[in-house]
Structures are given as C-alpha cells and as structure tokens.
C-alpha cells in the first residue's frame, strides 16, 4: 500500500485519527529532534521539550491549512518556538542578553591538547562551536539545508523569506563557516 503523505496524515489528524498522528510523529520525531538539538546548541532535554511543544502546536485546531506543505510548516513552528524561547525574559536573564551564543560555545581559554582536539573533532564540538559563532539567520539556513536536506524552496517557505534571500544567506553562511572552521589536524581520521 502506498504510504500516505504528510499532508494526508495531517488532514486525518485534524479529524482525530490517532493512527495517522502516530505515523506522523514517528516519521518526524527523529529529524525534528536533530534540528532542534543543533539549533539550541546540543541541549538534549531542551530540544526534547521543544519537540513536544512543537507537536502540541501542530495539534491546535484550525492552525493547519490542508493545501499547505506540512514539513516547512512544522519547522516554521519549531524555529519560531526556539526564537521565542531565547527571547523570553527568563532565558535572557539567565544567559545575559547578547551572551547566549557565547554560552553555547563553552569555549575554554587554554589551548586544547592534540588528544582533546581529536576527541572534540570526533564529537563534532568544533563544528558546533563554529556554527554557534554564526548569526542566527545564517545558522538556521545552514541547519535546514545541510542537516535536514531541505530544498531552497522549502527553506523559503519555512522562514517566510524570498528565494534570493535564502541563497544569499546560505552563501554568506557557508563562507563564514569556512573561515571559522579550522582544518582537521592530520592523523585524526
């Protein structure tokens, strides 16, 4: 039997179909958690809370229009929730306004040893730190493009920006990423 599309499943969910909802959540739980995990800087409990919050928004009545592509809509909700979270007064107070990205870095003052660098590369710490140094607008498009595999059009629909803006942000983002990322030391494959 042909697998139902996200849009068909979502229409069924709106009619209270539990099976369709289970299928939709199972399909998107993993990629959505990955996206939010990277967007909030490797904080898994926070990412899990945001996944739950995103899906609760999905279930709110009259929010989804059946003609609309589901995936960009889902990631738009997730992205907006993260934005709201970091804008909230409590978080700003905790992280001090403007220092949020610095907090994400967890940078250490001292020069890491070769072993520490190898372990960090293995766990993707350098990449995480490089992405955290980018401004949010560039980080989001890079995550959607290279981790979620979104097309340019899907990114435009998710972020409600023109296609040209998507391209320019990706271009700037990738160039900045390259300038931030240090090459992997030899012998650390």
């Amino acid at each position: 039997m042909q697998e139902r599309s996200d849009e068909q499943l979502m229409t069924a969910v709106q009619a209270g179909d539990q099976v369709a909802f289970a299928a939709l959540v199972t399909r998107h739980h993993d990629p959505l958690l990955g996206y939010l995990y990277r967007l909030v800087g490797s904080d898994r409990p926070l990412a899990e809370d945001l996944v739950q919050e995103t899906l609760l928004h999905v279930l709110q009545p009259h929010t989804y229009q059946s003609a609309r592509p589901f995936k960009p809509w889902l990631y738009m909700i997730a992205t907006n929730l993260v934005r709201d979270y970091f804008k909230s007064a409590a978080v700003r107070k905790l992280w001090r306004e403007g220092d949020a990205e610095e907090m994400l870095l967890h940078l250490e003052d001292r020069e890491p040893s070769p072993e520490e660098r190898a372990l960090a590369a293995e766990q993707g710490c350098e990449v995480r730190e490089a992405l955290a140094q980018l401004r949010g607008e560039y980080r989001v498009v890079l995550l959607l493009r290279f981790y979620q595999g979104f097309s340019l059009q899907e990114i435009a629909e998710t972020l409600h920006i023109p296609l040209g803006t998507v391209k320019s942000r990706l271009s700037v983002g990738v160039h900045r990423l390259r300038s931030v990322l240090t090459p992997v030391p030899k012998g650390v494959d």
């Binding site: 993707g124 320019s168 990738v174 090459p183």
Partner: protein
C-alpha cells in the same frame, strides 16, 4: 554520552557539490568550500529510541482532537453528500405508508378532474387550494415535532437529524414534483391552455406551505404546524379571492413569489434545525439534574 551516528542527507559527495552550485556558488568556490561543508557531518545529533517516541505519543495523545465514532462516520459520509443523501432517502421511503402515496395521488387526480371538467369557473383557485394539501400531508407523515421525543434515537443513527430531514424533503418534494408533472401532462392532454401557469398555481403554494409548516414544526407539534400553515394559506386564498386581489396576483412574477418564499422558509427551517440541535438534546439537563447543579 556518545550519540549514535546521525543521518546525513548527502549520501554521495557530488550531492554536496550540487547543493552548493544550486545556491549560487561557482565551481571554484565549491572546491574551496567543500572541505568545510563536509565537516558539518561531524556534529552528530541524538536519535530518539522507539520508547522515546512512545512516551512522546502518550503525552501528545491527550491533546489530540477527539470525535465520537458517530461524528467521524458522519464526517466521512459528508465527502459523498449527494449519493449519501439519495441512499438515506431510499432508506427512509419505508416510513411513508401506502396512504400517503395514494391520498397524494388522489388529490392530484381530483385537481385534474376539477380543472378538466370545468366544475368550477376559477381553475386557479382549485389548484392553489389543492396543491398545498399535498404539503400538509407530506409534513404530517414525514416530520415529527420535538414532542415526538425521537431525537435521541435519531442522534445514534449514522445520518444526522439534518440529513434525515433533507432526505425526507427529497422524498416528499420529489413525489410532489412527480405528481405535478403528471398533472401537467393530464392538463396538456386535456387541451387546457396555459399549462405552465396552472402548474405554477399548483406547485408554488405547495412549496410555501411546506416551508411554513416545517418552520412552525420547530416550535409546535407537527399536526398543529401543518394545520396552521395550510389553514393560513386557505384564509389568505379566500381573502384574496373575495377582495379580487387574485387578479392582481396573477402576474407571472407574483405567481412564483410563494414558491421562492417557500424555499427561503425551508432553508431557514433546516438551518435552525441544525443550529438548535444542542438545545434540543436532553443530555445537559439530565447531567445537571444528576449532578445536583439545580439544588
């Protein structure tokens, strides 16, 4: 805690190059940027286990919009409205006893005999008085007022009460239209002039009385509603005949006016039936009494 390898959407290296080219990078830039972009795959994200997904579903399922199985079935059937309406109407035909079919046909036949035999000079009046009699009969047979207390039974049926009312209207009006066509054939075969005008004189008051009776049946017992609607029409007809108003009402535009008014009344009655449904339910009162909220 080390996380399992996360999925990386670019399985082949050239896919990454294509992605960079698509977003506007030149081939030279691609070669320059690729090493950095490839390194993105180093940052792995956690994967939820099936147990994680089950836990999430358990939390979210409480927020899932819930519809009763009956309501879901009604929603599904709404997708095939016309066929479902006709199927419901077919099932409802058994409600109408033989008397309804025969008496309606007899009334129509009598109307034809009176007109063709020129028993009465004013043929219009005969038809205007006889047509609504079918509506009176149809209302009494097809619709039961709220006093009949069958709403609970209708609510557990697959078609909603509104769908049932529509189906019965289809039967009654469909049969009346059929009889009207038969009457027009008889009049035409009998050599009567102005068949269309006579047919309108028969059918438009029928629609008016049917609409008025259905609307009144939402407030009164069905017998009272049908009698009041038909009685009002007869009174109006008598007054208009005596006061010679009928001659002025004979204009083509005014002939169809009762029919249009009847259709409007039918639409209002059906809409009110739909919106007042929750008020007609016995459930809230019963629950309130059970919970002792009145005390």
């Amino acid at each position: 805690m080390p996380h399992p390898q996360s999925s990386w959407p670019f399985e082949r290296p050239e896919q990454l190059t294509d992605a960079l080219l698509e977003q506007g990078a030149t081939p030279e830039e691609c070669a320059n940027l690729l090493p950095a972009v490839r390194r993105l795959s180093e940052w792995q994200a956690p994967h939820p286990t099936p147990a994680d997904t089950r836990r999430l579903l358990a939390v979210l399922s409480t927020a899932l919009p819930a519809f009763s199985p009956v309501r879901q079935a009604i929603r599904e059937h709404r997708q095939h409205r016309i066929s479902f309406l006709l199927a419901t109407a077919r099932a409802q035909v058994s409600l109408f006893g033989l008397g309804f079919w025969l008496v309606s046909a007899l009334v129509t036949l009598l109307g034809a005999v009176v007109v063709l035999g020129r028993v009465i000079e004013d043929q219009d009046v005969v038809l205007r008085a006889g047509g609504p009699l079918l509506a009176y009969l149809g209302t009494i047979v097809a619709f039961r007022g709220r006093g009949a207390r069958v709403l609970e039974l209708e609510l557990v049926c697959l078609p909603s009460p509104l769908q049932l009312a529509l189906a019965r209207l289809v039967i009654v009006l469909g049969y009346d239209v059929g009889l009207s066509l038969a009457l027009s054939l008889l009049l035409w075969a009998g050599g009567t002039g102005q068949v269309l005008a006579l047919m309108l004189a028969w059918f438009t008051p029928l629609l008016l009385v049917a609409g008025l009776a259905l609307l009144l049946s939402l407030r009164l017992s069905v017998q009272a509603a049908a009698s009041l609607a038909y009685g009002s029409w007869l009174v109006f007809l008598a007054i208009s005949t005596i006061s010679n108003l009928q001659a002025r009402a004979g204009a083509p535009a005014l002939i169809v006016l009762p029919g249009c008014l009847g259709l409007v009344l039918l639409a209002i009655a059906l809409l009110r039936m739909h919106t007042n449904m929750h008020r007609l339910l016995p459930y809230p009162e019963r629950v309130r009494t059970f919970l002792g909220a009145d005390s």
